[in-house]
């Protein structure tokens, strides 16, 4: 099977991740997966690390890992979870390697390198939002990143984090409700 065969009578977007993964390292198949996930992986890693260059390096390593481990991937419609689990591991390895404790490492304040953000929020609001995120627990921050930077579903976040989808939903809801109180207070 190759990508040409998969594309017979179908658009590229209709091919599932599992079908592309089953092409087993054929460059065309893996390139498609890369195109689907590169930006989201980068966003996720950037939001977890304080260094953009490191985030780029880790993004490359995540795709190299995924490429090398593709044979281990069991096609169960869980490619995104599998890939983000690798990314999460890579980020954890980064902290181990650099002997930093993630607990003391601030999430990135995107205002440092984000022009689009300034078009929808004032710098004051961005700072407030950043502060609110920092006040959440490590686990909650991770769920926020997986939800809003990686754009994963509750079920996918559950697979990356070892929780049931319902537990993810509940934990995120609690976190967002708490943040919402503070957000509305500041926006009144």
């Amino acid at each position: 099977m190759d990508i040409e065969a998969l594309l017979t009578n179908r658009m590229a977007s209709e091919i599932t991740d599992d079908e592309l993964a089953s092409l087993d390292r054929q460059p065309e198949g893996f390139s498609q997966l890369y195109e689907r996930y590169a930006v989201r992986i980068f966003r996720y890693l950037s939001s977890r690390l304080s260094d953009r260059t490191e985030a780029e390096d880790l993004t490359a390593q995540v795709f190299l890992d995924a490429y090398q481990r593709l044979a281990e991937y069991k096609p169960r419609n869980q490619f995104a979870s599998w890939l983000f689990t690798i990314a999460s591991r890579r980020a954890a390895d980064y902290y181990r390697r650099t002997r930093q404790n993630e607990k003391f490492d601030e999430d990135v304040n995107f205002t440092n390198y984000s022009d689009p953000l300034s078009k929808v929020m004032t710098s004051e609001t961005i700072d407030e939002l950043s502060d609110m995120i920092q006040k959440q627990s490590l686990d909650e921050r991770e769920m926020l990143r997986l939800r809003f930077a990686a754009e994963l579903s509750f079920a996918e976040i559950g697979r990356v984090t070892g929780r049931t989808p319902a537990a993810v939903k509940m934990a995120l809801r609690r976190c967002l409700n708490r943040m919402k109180l503070s957000w509305e207070e500041k926006n009144e």
Binding site: D24, A38, S46, A92, E102, F110, L117, T161
Partner: protein, 471 residues
């Protein structure tokens, strides 16, 4: 748009999604993936061909042996490759090796970089250490490569590590790292460790290394034709050992061995304990270096079908280098006392921590992890107190295994909880890697533990004998 009237979720979405990777970076990485810089071997790449140049070389060898006989094939393979003392057989294209061994020495401990190779797909490193405390040896897994100068350096973590304790007390560590991006960059072995838990600060060792092209100087030798013995197989504890080839140069005897193990769910690596080469005249030849290739996979028997997925065995090739054997020896034997395997089983274990988990809890599991042909019973998950890297007491979790066969020892090198804030610690009291929670909050309910990497030691000995080639 009114900048102040976004809902929280909209604001979070805008916040997190505002960061974008650079176009240049995206395109450059995409190009590497789509064209050539990942280890891809053409349109019909099978999963058995992913190990860089090792796959093609070994498959040429194996397929060729069946068709045209071993000696001819060995010679043909050597035309494509060269032998690097201390490392084994490498392809000659774009390979860089260590110019000379480099040693860092203090009065009571030393670290020597004995060999390093860099190819388009990976970087390999062999380090021999002496005199380090048992505690500090745990940090061998943390050794990194620092690439570039101080202003623009980056660090590479190993993707594979084999630690072998030698009979003389030294420790050999073999590392596989990702490829190094810039060949002209400064490369430094960077290692931080503590001699004991009581030490407050980490010690740091930095060893700069110099690499040269494999074709420069006399470092890479052409080998004469090899010899494949007729009786060449031994089996014990599920592991078969095959002597594939023996080559003798003016001062070296090189033996190519294959370890054949039942197929694993994923790739595996092998490391050998002590090895001895003896002849019928009573000589024992000192081992100089060993070389590990990554795994290659073949089908059982003679049925070579590259497109079949019916792979039943993993064949892991090794090159062993000894002092030259006595040409008058009639028979040779190799003895291995133990084998160490690093397996990547990706087995899941569900643990229900309950509603109020606390240190001291023991959750009965009675599950079995299948590591190829070895069944590992996991009897319980225990919540324990471990010491974090900040020397803080935090809760962690260890898996308790049931009785194992006498010849099997197991160490869990890495599992992950699929839970974000946990971190991995080596805990001396449990002699195990432990997942701990730095925030000191133990998760509740069911968690999914993924057994990521397991270190399996299988005791031998394996002894294999063969007729020496006639001079």
């Amino acid at each position: 748009m009114n900048k102040r009237q976004l809902g929280l979720e909209e604001a979070l979405q805008a916040y997190y999604q505002s960061i974008q990777p650079g176009e240049t970076f995206l395109k450059s990485l995409g190009k590497k993936i789509s064209v050539q810089q990942f280890p891809v071997h053409g349109q019909h790449t099978s999963r058995r061909l992913v190990w860089g140049w090792v796959g093609p070389v070994m498959l040429v060898l194996i397929a060729g042996v069946l068709i045209i006989g071993p000696q001819t094939v060995w010679a043909a393979v050597l035309n494509l490759t060269r032998f690097v003392p201390g490392f084994g057989i490498v392809t000659t294209e774009n390979i860089y090796i260590l110019k000379e061994p480099v040693t860092y020495a203090e009065t009571d401990h030393s670290l020597t970089v004995t060999q390093m190779t860099l190819d388009p797909y990976k970087t390999s490193l062999i380090v021999v250490s002496d005199g380090f405390t048992e505690y500090s040896q745990n940090f061998f897994y943390d050794l990194t490569l620092k690439v570039g100068n101080s202003g623009e350096s980056y660090y590479l973590s190993p993707t594979d590590v084999w630690i072998t304790h030698r009979t003389n007390g030294s420790i050999k560590a073999t590392y596989i790292f990702p490829k190094i991006k810039a060949l002209d960059a400064d490369i430094t072995i960077f290692w931080t460790f503590k001699h004991s838990p009581e030490e407050e600060a980490f010690q740091k060792i930095e060893i700069p290394v110099e690499l040269i092209s494999v074709e420069k100087g006399n470092l890479a030798q052409d080998l004469p034709s090899g010899y494949t013995p007729k009786v060449n197989l031994t089996t014990k504890n599920g592991v078969r050992i095959d002597i594939v080839n023996q080559v003798t140069t003016d001062d070296t005897t090189v033996v190519q061995v294959e370890f054949i193990i039942p197929r694993q769910g994923s790739r595996s690596s092998i490391s050998i304990g002590n090895v001895a080469l003896r002849d019928n005249l009573g000589h024992e030849y000192p081992e100089r270096f060993t070389t590990v290739f990554n795994i290659s996979r073949t089908l059982p028997g003679d049925d070579i079908d590259l497109n079949s997925s019916a792979v039943k065995e993993d064949r892991i090739p090794y090159i062993l280098e000894f002092d030259r054997v006595d040409p008058s020896a009639m028979t040779l034997s190799l003895t291995f006392d133990s084998l160490e395997l690093i397996l990547f089983p990706f087995e899941h274990i569900q643990v229900d921590l309950g509603t109020n988990p606390k240190v001291g809890d023991s959750i009965t599991l009675n599950q079995v992890i299948q590591l190829g042909w070895v069944d590992i019973p996991v009897t319980s998950a225990n919540i324990v107190e471990v010491t974090s890297k900040l020397d803080d007491k935090i809760p962690g979790l260890v898996l308790q295994t049931g009785p194992l066969p006498a010849e099997i020892e197991m160490e869990l090198l890495s599992s992950y909880w699929a839970y974000f804030s946990n971190q991995l610690y080596y805990d001396m009291s449990y002699k195990s890697f432990v997942e701990g929670w730095p925030e000191k909050v133990i998760p509740t309910g069911e968690v999914d533990i993924i057994i990521d990497r397991v270190h399996l030691t299988i005791q031998g000995p394996w002894k294999i004998e063969w007729d020496a080639p006639t001079p």
